[in-house]
């Protein structure tokens, strides 16, 4: 039988771990419940009702969210109230009714107004510099930071070895 002073911390640790797991599971359950409620609520979203004059389709809104107002700064098409944006929304409605694929509709607006109407920056040409900047920043901090940590540790080891000698 192990001595009493060796068992007590083990029991405490086990009790602590159990409590912590139970707490964590409760928290996870709460988050899960909240998100699943959110997800369930989404099932009924946007369903057209017979007695509304018009309810825009999810597809229409999804295309609008990919586009920006050509005149404002950083304003999504679905939220802008300028007449030019109202016209763009009407064109999207008409094109969807004709069966034009969403990609072609987005391409049409890009050709007409330029890259500035795209909410999602195209990963091509000059824009690749920005994505390179992101990768470079993460690499600098990841690889460079890792190297700095390793160097700090190595110089500490050398100092400790020097003191030992």
């Amino acid at each position: 039988m192990p001595p009493r002073h060796a068992r007590a911390p083990g029991r405490r640790a086990a009790r602590g771990a159990l409590l912590a797991v139970a707490l964590g599971l409760a928290l996870g359950g709460l988050a899960l419940g909240a998100l699943s409620l959110a997800g369930r609520a989404g099932l009924g979203g946007g369903a057209p009702v017979a007695h509304a004059q018009q309810v825009d389709s999810e597809q229409q809104l999804a295309i609008e969210r990919q586009l920006l107002c050509p005149q404002c700064v950083n304003e999504r098409l679905d939220q802008c109230e300028l007449p030019i944006c109202e016209d763009m929304r009407t064109i999207i409605r008409q094109q969807l009714a004709k069966g034009t694929p969403p990609d072609q509709i987005v391409f049409f607006f890009r050709a007409r107004y330029g890259e500035r109407v795209l909410a999602d920056l195209p990963r091509e040409g000059f824009n690749l510099l920005l994505f390179g900047w992101v990768a470079g920043s993460v690499l600098l901090m990841g690889v460079g930071g890792g190297w700095a940590l390793w160097r700090m540790r190595r110089s500490s080891l050398s100092r400790a070895a020097g003191r030992g000698r």
Binding site: A20, G39, A52, D78, D120
Partner: protein, 672 residues
């Protein structure tokens, strides 16, 4: 002669002269070890703050008295505006907001000089010189380029009034809070620069700078949250953070400030990160200056407006000077910036905090790149592009999720080194929880990898934080004799014993709750747009909305001419939940700039967010509806976050053992 104009302009000009005198006297006092010159420099800084207080009071009185002889007052205020909104008019234009910025900065500089008297005696003169230099640099554009006391050639009968975007109660608190946060970044900057100039970079500057860095962190965080709340409740686009260049400018200085607070803990405990912490203090202030330049130059919205701006090039020069000066100071003192103690193990809390700093820096670099890239595109190839939310969601989202995980891991790691067996025991249950949560969420249908990772890491951080409180409070609970009623006292004792640590954990807790809410409200947001005539209905999520009527009502005040308000009833199944009244507000002096009135129904589960986009002559109206899950938790988490920051102020840690004091550089230290 306009009295307010003469008084205000004189106060600003005298403040500039006083700040320049403070620079000269303080530098002279340090070089010649002359106590009289140092005292004169100190008094000149207090005088500068007093003169700026007089200037801002003069402008406030001019606004309250409708003194339209001042061009600034005529451009932002009008006779019928309510008193509270005349206060908002004080900082609604460029000259006024620059005056508020500089006034708040003068209070911070005076506060540092006064506070540093006890804690930073060896570098007080240097702090005076740097602080008054910063003040003089901000006073130059106020006096010569953008004075709020410019007198109109003709005095108009009435003013134009406040910009419709600003006619909201949130404007009374959000901009001053944000400007105070930005201006307060000067305090750690001054102390760091003074420590370097004096050649003493041990933990003493950390102890002097920590309360200021913490104050700046709390105020900047609160300012950003209030900005999000204003955007959500006023702007009417269903969200709270658009990654707009101006928003980016406000959040950028916060990131190095958070890194600095974590770095302080490492430097104070282990004598490490000396160079890094100084660099973070410089980065926070430089990014605040960058924000000022970015917002005031018009650089980001259009590269051409930069050329037309008087104030933009000046702040660009100031930013360059701050950066060059910082790098030169760090290079000059680099030989004194080595660690005091050995870095004993990679499996230590030091590593967690250092990785946290690297992540925050990577996030800042990504946001800075995204903010400036449209300028580069326009300059290099003359093509206008927009870097908007999808880019930031993809580039910054994963880094923020990783930050939550690193925060949880860091809290589990011990200082210096951890025995492998102890670490295995500490990490076993959080790892199990992480896997279980991931499996549970995936089984429940959460498929988005960003949402899954973010929620799992946030849940792990919450659990690890609560475990820290439980472990800490257990002893105090036993000492108090146990029992359920002893727990609140035991938790309170933790904050009394080590408020910095447990306040910081509360910030983590708030951050994790906010992260879950952000994921819920962005990934699971639903949007519906419906065109309906009075009496018709449509569905949004689980709600049925019926458009009842559209009524007009006369404007109240603050330039509002009329308001059109729609009445919409909200049902869930057969149950009537209530009425919402979204609408639009039209302004007399801004006919082309109507503002939406957002109608909101909040519950613990989600927000129903409704606004009117327009209507025709038959009153057929177009409604935009958003169902934003978990929104209330975003504000609740932000409250916990700010409360944690406030509670951390009481940090009274005893001086660490084995602190090595670096001797001052010969001839450079203040001998007075």
């Amino acid at each position: 002669m306009n009295l307010a104009g003469a008084l205000g302009a004189s106060a600003l000009l005298t403040a500039l002269a006083s700040a320049i005198f403070a620079v000269v006297a303080s530098t002279w006092g340090v070089r010649r070890a002359h106590p009289g010159a140092l005292a004169a420099g100190r008094r000149a800084i207090y005088a500068t703050a007093a003169l700026l207080t007089a200037a801002i009071a003069t402008l406030a009185v001019a606004l309250l008295r409708d003194d339209f002889g001042l061009a600034y007052v005529a451009s932002v205020s009008s006779r019928e505006m309510q008193t509270a909104f005349k206060w908002a008019a004080l900082y609604s234009g460029q000259p006024g907001s620059l005056l508020l910025w500089t006034w708040l900065m003068s209070l911070a500089v005076a506060g540092v000089v006064w506070h540093a008297g006890a804690r930073l005696r060896w570098a007080r003169g240097h702090a005076q010189a740097v602080g008054s230099g910063a003040l003089a640099a901000f006073l130059v554009p106020l006096v010569f380029l953008a004075s709020p006391f410019e007198v109109s050639a003709l005095t108009p009968a009435d003013g134009v009034g406040l910009n419709p975007l600003l006619v909201d109660r949130a404007m009374l608190i959000h901009p001053p809070m944000l400007l105070a946060g930005l201006a307060s970044t000067v305090a750690p900057f001054i102390i760091a620069a003074a420590a370097l100039l004096a050649g003493r970079v041990d933990a003493s500057w950390v102890r002097a700078a920590r309360p200021w860095a913490l104050a700046s962190f709390v105020v900047l965080s609160a300012g950003n949250v209030l900005g999000g709340w204003w955007a959500y409740t006023v702007l009417g686009w269903g969200g709270y953070w658009a990654w707009d260049p101006v928003e980016n400018s406000a959040i950028l200085p916060l990131l190095p400030m958070i890194a600095l607070l974590h770095g302080f803990a490492v430097q104070e405990r282990r004598g490490m990160l000396k160079l890094w912490n100084l660099a973070m203090a410089f980065a926070a202030f430089s990014l605040a200056v960058f924000g000022t330049f970015n917002v005031r130059s018009g650089l980001v919205s259009s590269v051409h407006s930069f050329a037309q701006s008087d104030i933009g090039p000046y702040f660009l020069g100031l930013l360059g000077a701050a950066l060059l000066g910082s790098v030169a100071l760090l290079a000059w003192r680099s030989s004194r910036l080595s660690s005091d103690h050995d870095f004993e193990s990679l499996l230590s809390r030091e590593t967690g905090l250092i990785v946290n700093n690297y992540l925050l820096t990577a996030i800042a670099l990504v946001i800075l790149g995204g903010t400036l890239f449209p300028v580069a595109s326009e300059l290099v190839r003359d093509v206008r592009i927009t870097v908007s939310a999808p880019f930031y969601d993809q580039a910054v989202g994963p880094l923020l999720a990783a930050l939550l995980l690193v925060a949880a891991i860091g809290m589990l790691l011990p200082w210096r080194r951890g025995a492998p067996r102890t670490l295995a025991r500490r990490f076993a249950w959080p790892a199990a929880l992480l896997v279980l949560s991931a499996v549970g969420l995936a089984a429940a249908g959460v498929r988005d990898p960003f949402a899954l990772a973010g929620v799992v890491f946030a849940v792990t951080l919450i659990a690890v934080t609560l475990r820290e409180y439980w472990h800490g409070a257990r002893g105090a609970h036993r000492a108090a004799g146990g029992g359920a009623f002893a727990w609140p006292g035991a938790v309170g004792a933790l904050f009394r014993r080590d408020p910095g640590r447990y306040g910081g954990y509360l910030v983590h807790l708030g951050l994790a709750v906010m992260a879950i809410a952000v994921i819920g409200s962005t990934v699971y947001q639903q949007q519906v747009r419906a065109t309906v005539a009075p009496g018709e209905s449509f569905e949004a999520g689980r709600y049925t909305l019926t458009y009842v009527s559209l009524d007009g009502r006369a404007g109240t005040a603050n330039g509002v001419e009329t308001e059109a308000v729609a009445t919409v009833t909200v049902r869930e199944g057969d149950r009537l939940l209530g009425e919402l009244q979204p609408g639009r507000r039209f302004f007399t002096n801004f006919p082309g700039q109507p503002m939406g009135i957002v109608a909101l129904r909040s519950s613990w589960r989600e927000d129903l967010y409704l606004f009117v986009q327009g209507w025709d002559e038959d009153l057929v109206a177009e409604f935009q509806v958003f169902v934003n899950p978990l929104m209330i938790w975003l504000w609740a988490g932000a409250g916990v976050y700010v409360a944690g920051g406030l509670l951390a102020f009481g940090w009274q840690r005893p001086a660490p053992a084995r602190e090595r004091v670096t001797p001052p550089a010969p001839g450079a230290a203040q001998r007075a």
